[in-house]
């Protein structure tokens, strides 16, 4: 408790007890000798002021104490420090300090804590708090809106997912229909090819039989005639039967990919379609690399027949010229490049970009389904991991120059067998 020499009445005692002002007594050596209740809570176990106040602040404090003397018994100053330096979170408080010198062991210190915020600071603080609460409110609102939007987004996503699933299914279905159509289209094309291939042997059989009857009726038939005619008929029947074998082989559904020779593939293709080319005076010039490919050979045959048939359809609309189809191939960077070009003048520039689209056809009124080249692209790119494109080119063949369309197919090589 404080020395009652200085404070003598009860009211003062009470004030000393209840005030938040720190009142304490120190010696010149900065020993804490006495204090009021307010200071007591800071003091704890320490008896030296230096143990209580941070070093920077104690120096300022000590300077003032040193200045005190009997001649200079009163000093006022303002300082800000924390009375509890171990509490890192404690905010330094500004104190208005009055020190009164009585003697070296009797210095009364009165430290009046000031609100550590200035008026302006307080205003700024409150407006900040206000802002924060507004911000908080806004944030809450935003959070709510965000949640709402997230919900909507989730629903949207779910819908989208369902729609995507539906679309994918629809697409799948569409693809199946297209595959079916393409099968039918190539079937129709093949039946036409069979018809063409059968035409000649059938005509030979028919005329042989007719000739035999004629000779018989006119009495010019001899043993030799019967023998040769029967041979002719037999050979033609063989031819018919072979044709069936080629086509049956083509239509046989092979599901397993296999290795095959590109040369063989072209041979098989031409066996299927050659009649329609020969009958229309179309010359096919070919130079094909002897390489092995991997995949479904019949699908590649389908691609080649599609391209060749397209070229044929174009070539027969052009009269009075040499009708040419040139098939070339070469190896480049682990790929086989196959070029099929014709001299039918080329693909009109305005449709060049569309020819691989499904159901795109320029032959609505004849036999076009618009499936052939679409399927070809699917087979080359999806099934065989290759590439197919078309362009118009000028080229020369046997010292004559021509214009036409060129289909360029690149296919990855089956590395194991071609090394």
């Amino acid at each position: 408790m404080i020395d009652m020499n200085i404070v003598s009445n009860n009211a003062l005692k009470l004030w000393l007890k209840d005030t938040n002002k720190l009142i304490f007594k120190i010696s010149k050596k900065m020993e804490i000798l006495d204090s009021n209740d307010a200071f007591e809570k800071y003091k704890h176990k320490f008896n030296l002021l230096s143990q209580l106040i941070t070093y920077t602040h104690i120096m300022a404090f000590k300077n003032k104490v040193d200045l005190l003397s009997a001649e200079n018994p009163l000093i006022r100053f303002t300082s800000n420090f924390s009375f509890d330096k171990e509490d890192v979170e404690d905010i330094p408080i500004t104190y208005n300090i009055v020190m009164e010198y009585i003697n070296d062991d009797n210095i009364i210190v009165l430290a009046d804590p000031q609100p550590y915020l200035s008026h302006e600071d307080a205003k700024a603080y409150f407006s900040m708090v206000n802002d924060f609460s507004t911000m908080n409110r806004d944030l809450k609102k935003s959070t709510l809106m965000l949640e709402e939007k997230e919900n909507m987004l989730q629903k949207l996503n779910e819908n989208l997912e369902q729609r995507v699933i539906k679309e994918v299914e629809k697409n799948k279905h569409k693809q199946q229909i297209i595959f079916q159509q393409s099968k039918m289209a190539s079937m129709g094309e093949m039946i036409e090819n069979i018809a063409h291939q059968w035409r000649q042997p059938l005509s030979i059989i028919s005329t042989s039989a007719g000739g035999l009857q004629f000779k018989n009726e006119l009495d010019i038939l001899d043993e030799d005639d019967i023998e040769t005619t029967m041979n002719t008929i037999n050979n033609s029947v063989q031819h018919l039967s072979q044709t069936i074998d080629y086509f049956r082989d083509f239509f046989k559904e092979k599901k397993n990919k296999d290795k095959f020779l590109l040369i063989d593939t072209f041979e098989k293709t031409l066996k299927l379609v050659h009649s329609q080319f020969r009958n229309n005076d179309i010359v096919i010039v070919k130079s094909i690399e002897n390489i092995t490919l991997y995949g479904l050979e019949n699908e590649l045959i389908q691609v080649f027949t599609n391209i060749l048939n397209n070229a044929r359809d174009e070539l027969i609309t052009k009269d009075k010229q040499d009708r040419l189809i040139i098939i070339d191939s070469y190896l480049k960077d682990n790929e086989i490049i196959i070029l099929i070009k014709d001299n039918a003048g080329g693909i009109p520039i305005d449709i060049l970009d569309n020819i691989f689209e499904s159901h795109f056809t320029t032959k609505q009124d004849t036999n076009g389904t618009g499936i052939g080249l679409y399927m070809s692209k699917m087979i080359i790119e999806e099934h065989m991991k290759g590439n197919i494109m078309a362009s118009n080119i000028e080229f020369s063949h046997e010292n004559k120059s021509y214009q036409g369309a060129e289909f360029r197919i690149s296919l990855p090589l089956d590395m194991e067998t071609n090394q």
Binding site: T207, F214, E217, D219, T229, T232, R278, D281
Partner: protein, 143 residues
């Protein structure tokens, strides 16, 4: 394919000049038959049809001139048969040039029809209708 050979006994109508022209027809039929065996193309068939037409022109005019000169009574139906032959030739020629792809006959198909038509013409017209005017011509001193 063995060729159709001239057999005087079964093919001759007994008038040398007409027989010679009928031999020409047989030659064209043989040419056609060879073409079918070599898988006739349009470029092979068109000249053969033209040969048939050319044959028809000179042979029919030879016959028809004689009919008119000797007032052959069956002249009109016979001339009609001639006209039918020419009509058939032009028809077959047209089939090769059809615009519509599926209507267009392949060359070998046309050749086959042509062959069938030609041999049946030989059997029916030469050994039938032609024999009917022989006596009239022979009576008028045609050999």
């Amino acid at each position: 394919m063995n060729f159709l050979k001239w057999n005087n006994e079964t093919m001759s109508i007994g008038i040398q000049s007409i027989d010679n022209q009928h031999k020409d027809l047989l030659k064209i039929i043989n040419k056609l038959s060879l073409s079918i065996n070599n898988n006739s193309q349009k470029k092979d068939i068109v000249p053969i049809i033209n040969e048939f037409i050319n044959y028809a022109e000179y042979h029919f005019s030879t016959e028809e001139e004689l009919f008119d000169r000797f007032n052959y009574v069956e002249s009109i139906p016979h001339k009609k048969e001639h006209a039918l032959f020419l009509k058939k030739m032009l028809e077959l020629k047209k089939q090769l040039d059809e615009e519509e792809r599926y209507e267009r006959k392949s060359a070998v198909e046309v050749a086959e029809q042509l062959f069938k038509f030609a041999i049946s013409w030989f059997l029916n017209h030469i050994r039938g209708s032609d024999k009917e005017y022989v006596s009239l011509l022979k009576d008028n001193g045609i050999e």
